[in-house]
Symmetry: C2
Subunit: 332 residues, 2 copies
């Protein structure tokens, strides 16, 4: 098992990517290929003299796709960028999966262009694992698409079910269709049509679920178009920031609250962590021919480590093969 | 000023509606007409012997629209229901505004059927005030529509601007268009088209904003279609429940955390309240010919009181007249 890590991607590159790879190597014996400017990566590796040299290698790539670059343009022009080279390694079979915390658009485009779509898949989707009160729910599409049709959403449901079952260990994942009411007559045209298709899909379809049901963990797989999914994902991030910011202010109000805050600090930290994306190892781009994990731009070493572990799981569980054979079975 | 309150609407009807009206009368000298089954309302009023009798009257209505009723059907069939009668009082000019915490669908339908649309408005919208880290932002449409076109969204922006300025006291409200990226090239077809229209609308248009910007208070008015708005609103409710539920568990972990929790309890309560819809007095249905406030089904007396105050403000500030003249001015 070898995972290509885009060492130049993310707000804290290459430091956190490098240390995350070392953590995964030490703790899980997973090998990484760090892709990017070798002098920068080597300099960073030199800070960890005891790093497992047999498990960490470097693949030179001179260019870097910046967050300010136009994703599709950058991927086309910067052929020697870390994100493109990482995907090429996967395409050539030199690694088993690829991870990037760089621009989501560029990661997506690079995987789509270099790896290509699984035959039969119309549109790949970003499947984001969301922490709920019960465990983890996969929501897709979280933003690979700006617009989708009913057939796309059915494919998302199929891919999400396979991912939840193979990687997250949910025996028979329940699928919920995100809408504005539980009744099958509630929703926009896209949802009304998708509902009928999902009823006949053979999946464990719960029916429509509402926004409030997502974090209650009602469904294991939540299906929506990429526009809605991306807005929810970003809204959740913003709401979490807003709440914890307000909470901090509340806890610093008086000497008494400060004392109280001290007593509950470890519990609160744990709480914050349980709503933290980095625990869940990034979001797979499902539907491309290879395991491609898109991590948050703010990823720290732990987030990279978890993404590497998630990628290894997806490879071991043959998620791509399972998606392919499910499509073949259903003649889609 | 007299406000019709649907005394039979909401999870805690008629108790909380009645007590909320008494609070508004005592604290703000606002008169209410309690609409519903008079014997139930009288029995409730009798529990407050000193209630201001000159400010609280009863209007008999024998029927009740239940949450389980089909909204449009119920409004058409139950002509003597509290929600229909309350709207008729407004139509006849016997009251200045109407408030209901009953089924959102029924309140909306009753106001739409009985009051009618403001001439030139294609689709009314529910404008929900959301607490942000900076203050309050109005998001619309929060669920009056399952589908919208660009012209609808421009009208939402106009109505939201008028409401934010007249009722929430924002001098020149900034309008944000909810999308999946700040650039004007990001979004679905609806958003791309709306963006161009808003640029030429004469409103203080910020451009696209993302999900994470909403609760940061970047815009005073956030515009989106009713499907997206409703999902966000419900998601926010669910996320708030999930977080405070998890926080409670975290605070009861050990004797030490329990002690700490005791010290911060008042601050946390305040925090929870600041993210609580009931502080903000319900959501106006903008675009109908009259002030109609839709309150949350879980409204308590304070929520009713705040809804009554918000309704009185909207009447005093002539929100309906301002929407009408803005449409006339722009020839829409």
């Amino acid at each position: 098992m070898r995972i290509a890590v885009d060492a130049m991607g993310g707000d804290y590159a290459p430091q956190q990517a490098v240390f995350g790879s070392i953590m995964a190597a030490k703790e899980k014996k997973i090998a990484s290929v760090l892709v990017g400017r070798s002098e920068e990566i080597s300099r960073e590796l030199a800070r960890y003299p005891d790093y497992p040299q047999d498990l960490i290698t470097i693949q030179e790539a001179r260019e870097v796709v910046e967050f300010s670059d136009h994703p599709a343009m950058a991927v086309r022009k910067k052929r020697d960028s870390s994100i493109v080279v990482a995907n090429q390694l996967l395409k050539k079979g030199e690694v088993d999966a690829v991870i990037s915390a760089g621009s989501t658009g560029a990661s997506m485009t690079a995987s789509l262009f270099v790896l290509g779509r699984i035959s039969g898949i119309n549109r790949p989707a970003i499947a984001i694992p969301l922490p709920t009160v019960k465990g983890v729910t996969v929501l897709l599409d979280a933003g690979a698409n700006a617009e989708n049709d009913p057939q796309d959403l059915v494919q998302f449901a199929v891919m999400g079910t396979i991912y939840a079952s193979a990687v997250l260990g949910v025996a028979t994942p329940k699928v919920g269709l995100l809408s504005i009411g539980e009744e099958e007559t509630k929703g926009n045209k896209l949802v009304l049509e998708t509902h009928q298709l999902l009823k006949e899909s053979g999946l464990d379809f719960l029916g429509n679920i509402e926004g409030k049901d997502i974090l209650m963990g009602l469904a294991d797989v939540v299906v929506c178009d990429g526009f809605v999914g991306n807005i929810i994902l970003k809204f959740a991030e913003g709401m979490s920031s807003a709440l914890f910011q307000k909470m901090k202010e509340a806890l610093l109000q008086s000497p008494l609250t400060k004392l109280g805050a001290l007593a509950i600090k470890p519990s609160l930290k744990q709480l914050k962590a349980s709503f933290d994306y980095s625990e869940y190892g990034g979001a797979p781009l499902l539907g491309v021919k290879g395991v491609s994990i898109i991590s948050h731009g703010r990823s720290d070493a732990k987030a990279f480590k978890n993404a590497i572990i998630a990628a290894a799981n997806a490879v071991e569980q043959d998620v791509i093969g399972k998606i392919q054979s499910s499509l073949d079975r259903n003649g889609k």
